[in-house]
């Protein structure tokens, strides 16, 4: 096996190298960067163990539009058939700046990106400036000709929140057959095709069926995304029950082993994973972490607003203006980046704080303040139960409390 480094950029700890076959991002130390032939970087004058953010995100989610005809009941961008969209000219300008900053991937989504006539031109332009474009789609209306053009993308995931009736209950319309057809069309032309499944109270019990679909269609991954009460989802009572939150990580492992498929959980599931006390060293090595917003990840809204992630509020920075993203990056996301240093209890005493980062900031914000602990974290729920009025003693915690 030979690993070809297609791009690399320096960071204070060394650098990040992108390889293909297998496609991967490797964080390497300064010595390895030198061995790869890179000259010393000015960023290496900084402390390599510093907690400072990366010099740029590794990935940016470009929300191409709030336009979608499907009308899913829980749509987090509140998409409508006539929603705003990012023009080709603006998208190119943004991609130019991201490429100059050293961003490796963009995740293109919406809304329904396939409804936009400029989608494939945007994807081709991303390729031309050295960024890998990836796509999330509902698959509705995808034709064989569209699938052929989708070769330009890296990973494509089709949203399938359940099989058959579960899909209908989760999304509010009967679209499973269309999604399955889209998966078959895409898989016929490329290997990097997977499924996105929003895990909600309604869809939880149907995850086994979705995993079976992934295996049957020989897809390369199943991504489980936590339901977040934002956009139209804010009006739904679909967040996981405490019992489901405790079961999601063992269930994901079981699905992986039973169906021999790759299963990923999104960063908002980090508290549910760390509650089971996995190896912290292994988690750090495999890049398992909580909120990556404003660090590994950033997002751009169709109106041009720069965001820490696509579930977070706008910063007021217009990413369409050249130079704005680069100048805003070092200082714009302090609320997200500072959580570890100022975390309240019970996060402050959790041994996984530096990895978990307090779980999902968007969910915390939806329930109170951005700086609150994630209310879906099992440890937070246990701690709150032990500190609620009327309790004289705290309940035992699954994780040890470390004295300050």
């Amino acid at each position: 096996m030979k690993l070809r480094v297609v791009r690399a950029r320096p960071e204070r700890f060394g650098g990040i190298a992108e390889t293909e076959h297998p496609r991967a991002l490797l964080h390497v130390d300064r010595r390895m960067m030198r061995e790869l032939g890179h000259p010393d970087s000015p960023s290496w004058n900084e402390d390599e163990r510093s907690e400072a953010p990366l010099s740029a995100p590794t990935e940016v989610h470009v929300v191409l539009s709030r336009r979608c005809a499907a009308g899913c009941t829980g749509c987090y961008v509140d998409a409508t058939p006539k929603g705003a969209s990012l023009s080709l000219v603006d998208a190119r300008r943004i991609l130019d700046e991201l490429a100059a900053m050293g961003v490796f991937h963009v995740a293109l989504g919406g809304g329904e990106a396939l409804e936009l006539p400029q989608l494939f031109e945007i994807a081709a332009y991303a390729r031309s400036v050295g960024i890998t474009p990836n796509l999330t789609t509902s698959g509705l209306g995808l034709t064989a000709a569209d699938a052929e053009r989708c070769r330009v993308f890296g990973q494509i995931n089709v949203s399938v929140d359940g099989v058959g009736e579960v899909y209908t209950r989760a999304r509010g319309f009967d679209g499973f057959a269309h999604a399955e057809r889209a998966l078959r069309l895409l898989r016929a032309v490329k290997e990097e095709v997977g499924v996105n499944c929003v895990v909600s109270r309604t869809t939880f019990d149907g995850l086994g069926e979705v995993a079976r679909l992934v295996r049957t269609l020989r897809l390369n991954e199943l991504e489980l995304l936590r339901f977040k009460p934002v956009g139209r989802g804010a009006g739904l009572d679909e967040e996981l029950t405490p019992e489901q939150a405790r079961r999601i990580y063992p269930l994901a492992r079981r699905l992986m082993l039973r169906h021999r498929i790759r299963v990923k959980l999104d960063c908002s599931f980090a508290p549910m994973v760390f509650w089971h006390r996995p190896s912290a060293r292994a988690a750090a090595f495999w890049g398992v972490q909580g909120c990556v917003a404003g660090d590994v990840l950033a997002a751009v809204a169709p109106e041009g607003n720069l965001m820490a992630c696509s579930f977070a509020g706008a910063t007021g920075v217009d990413a369409r203006i050249p130079g704005n993203v680069r100048s805003a990056w070092p200082s714009s996301f302090a609320t997200f980046r500072d959580f570890v240093g100022s975390a309240p209890q019970p996060c402050a005493s959790c041994q996984y704080l530096r990895l978990c980062r307090g779980g999902c900031r968007a969910v915390a914000s939806a329930h109170g303040r951005l700086s609150d602990p994630d209310p879906g974290c099992p440890r937070v729920q246990e701690w709150r139960a032990g500190h609620s009025p009327g309790r004289s003693r705290p309940a035992s915690l699954a994780l040890p409390v470390i004295p300050a």
């Binding site: 994973v273 060293r281 292994a282």
Partner: protein
């Protein structure tokens, strides 16, 4: 002299707004497996660069 090291790896591309999270494919195999993969990747990377 100590050789360069791979500190972290994430496989594949992420098409989502928030899925830079947990790849459970490898996490449950623990720290020893992660260390072995880090050494292997480092060696392959070095060899690939030289050859």
């Amino acid at each position: 002299m100590r050789k360069g090291r791979v500190l972290r790896v994430t496989f594949g591309c992420n098409p989502n707004s928030s899925s830079l999270g947990v790849d459970v494919t490898f996490l449950f195999l623990g720290a020893t497996f992660a260390t072995a993969i880090a050494l292997l990747l480092g060696a392959v990377l070095r060899w690939s660069t030289r050859s």
